[in-house]
Amino acid sequence: MEYRDSDSLTRRKFIGIITSFSVLSSLFPSNYLLSVWALENKNLLKSQKLLKDKFRFFSPYQATVIEEVTSLIIPSDNSPGAREAGIVFAIENSISENERLRTLYQKGIEWLDFKAKELTGKDRYLDLNQDERIEILNIAGQNKSSSYKEANIPRVDRNTTVGSLFFNNLVRQTLDIFYTSDLGWKVVGYHGPPQWAGNLNYNKCNFK
């Protein structure tokens, strides 16, 4: 199967989206902005394509897999999700200096491909439709107690433990990054960090 990359989401486009969002958000109410954003980007997200950006560690295929998986962890609906927050770039930054994590991600992606073949006969994870992708992530997510810190990464990349270690770590990292970003905060309506502004309106309530 071929992947079209002519319309891929490049770093420049990504930064452009985020910048536009930030500037516009200062002018318009957030709900309105999020609706406009969703409408404008519907087509961009519709087709499967490989990321073209230069990564220090990830190959275009690996980067695209990570972005696709994170976009299922925090999906884009009527508001931005992991894809728009550029989680894949942040993850690449975080693992580039950590050999153990790099290995985990590499093995984890191999496991996704292996599982795709095993369950559907298709060659690679990106060949799957969304339901099939989620089915594999559910398998990986069943063992929630796994943490890459607590267990050695097995050599055999077909073991579900690899998938669990990888996916649970990816969920944790995705949440960590998304909910400490301006975009994530805007999505949930949070105006942080706690200091130095504080919450002087803490006692002004919207209920009777």
């Binding site: 999906p75 909910y179 994530g184 942080g192 706690p194 200091q195 919450n199 006692n203 309530c205 919207n206």
Partner: protein, 562 residues
Amino acid sequence: MSGEKEVDVCIIGSGAGGAPVAYALGRSGFSVVVLEAGPRYNPNEYHLAKKDWEQYPYPQPFIDPKHGNKKDLYRYSTPEKLDPKFSKLRSWSKAQGYYNNSDRRRPPYIDRAKGVGGTTLHYQGEAHRFSPFGFKSKSSYGVGDDWPITYEDLETYYDKAEKLLGVAGMNGNPFKPPRGPFPNPPHELSCASKRVKVGFDKLGLHLWPNYLNITSRPFDGRPPCNYCNGCFLGCMMRAKGGMDVTLIPKAEATGNVEVRPNSVVREITINKKGEVDGVIYFDSKNFERRQKARIVVVSASALESPRLLLNSKSSLFPDGLANSSGLVGKYFMETIIYSNTVLFSEQINSYKGLQIDSRAWDYNEPRKERSFISGLVFGVSALDLLGPLSYAQRIAPGWGPEHKEFMTKYFGHAINVFAIGEQLPSEENKITIDPEIKDYYGIPVAKVTTRLSNNDLEMLSFMQGKCNEIVEAAGAAEKVREFSAYDLSLISHLGGTCRMGTDPNKSVLNPYCQSHDVKNLFVIDSSCFVTQGGGDSPSLTIHAIALRASDYIISESKKGNL
């Protein structure tokens, strides 16, 4: 071993007990050295102004990195088997299932902080007075033991501590004794507390503005609180009156007090007369040093103080210093806590405000007619749900559309209704020394043995039932999490390991925190507690006891008795 000039007083620990003593004695002209095991923190360097502030949860940054991991700080006995009769108390969350799937209680997680200011670095600023009945447990209710002092003995010292710190509060609590005005007005309730108060009101309970060592207006050079809700991550504003920003600077300003951070005491030494004559400690560069002192005050917490005494063995005290009674480390009391996390359908902005801005003292006084005889206090708090990441990690479904929907719908809607109660003292609950395990400095670590009694379990059961009634009456939409001391041991308030009393055979300290065995040795922290005051938080009582003991040290020194 390097030595230093003898001082009048060497204080071990700079927290709730040590800081008031340093302040009081420094003001009176005593030369004082305070040895603090942890570093001195700069509030400007706490993480609350950073984007990733939620990734630095407590205990960071308040654990000395040299210790690395909390597990290196202490050990514990094999936890008890869970009583299936109380299995409804199992801790769980809708998102994560049961927190403890085993048939045994989880080993203790003890909230301690090492650093100048001690555990007040991360405490939530609660400034409670124990009620008069809290000192008379045995004679009033037939359980526990009586203190050798009364509320009246401490009252003037409670006043003094509150004035020094600028405690904010409101008079008129029907469950507390009459008292004078507070130094600062109360903080208005947060939206979350106002919303939950509906439930308390319907049940005839009295949710009251909490008494807090957090400024409600400018006070003594500290600004008023701006309600960031990050108290236990370290107060950048200095609005929370931790000892690091209040009594320690005041003590140092006397010119008589020197605070030495990163100084870990290994042993208290005695002379041939059986009096303490100083301590041996590791300085910030790990050099072993000696500090001579005329008087030694141990204020290292109810965990570390008995550990130090038990590790200070000699031919005169083969079982540990000041331990002729055999009671050093005994009668350890942990924290009996239950919490219920609920969602409200409307936005209550529960991440805004103070960490625990309201309490209800209706059950503070023990009652014989209940299925248990202990006091407890209810409260409302965001606790650990401080920002979006906390919600995502702790109460939201793991990932996918359900996760996103939860986060966008419920952020700011979750609140904890909880209760903290007192554990009755038992000689079986104790701190001992694990001879096999040593810390970074080669000092044997403390071993914690704590079991819940039937009284504790019945109290937890009551807490659960009442918290459920409260949230239902308040109209909460859904319960998403419960945790309790039944299967998790979450110890934030601890005490009782060097109890005070008048009988040297039944106590370690006299009513002024002075060792029965060694007249120039004092233990001034919650180790001296006989009971836990019906669920009230301990810090203000520690301050009051410390100021009272300081007056005693001053007067006895003047008389030539020390």
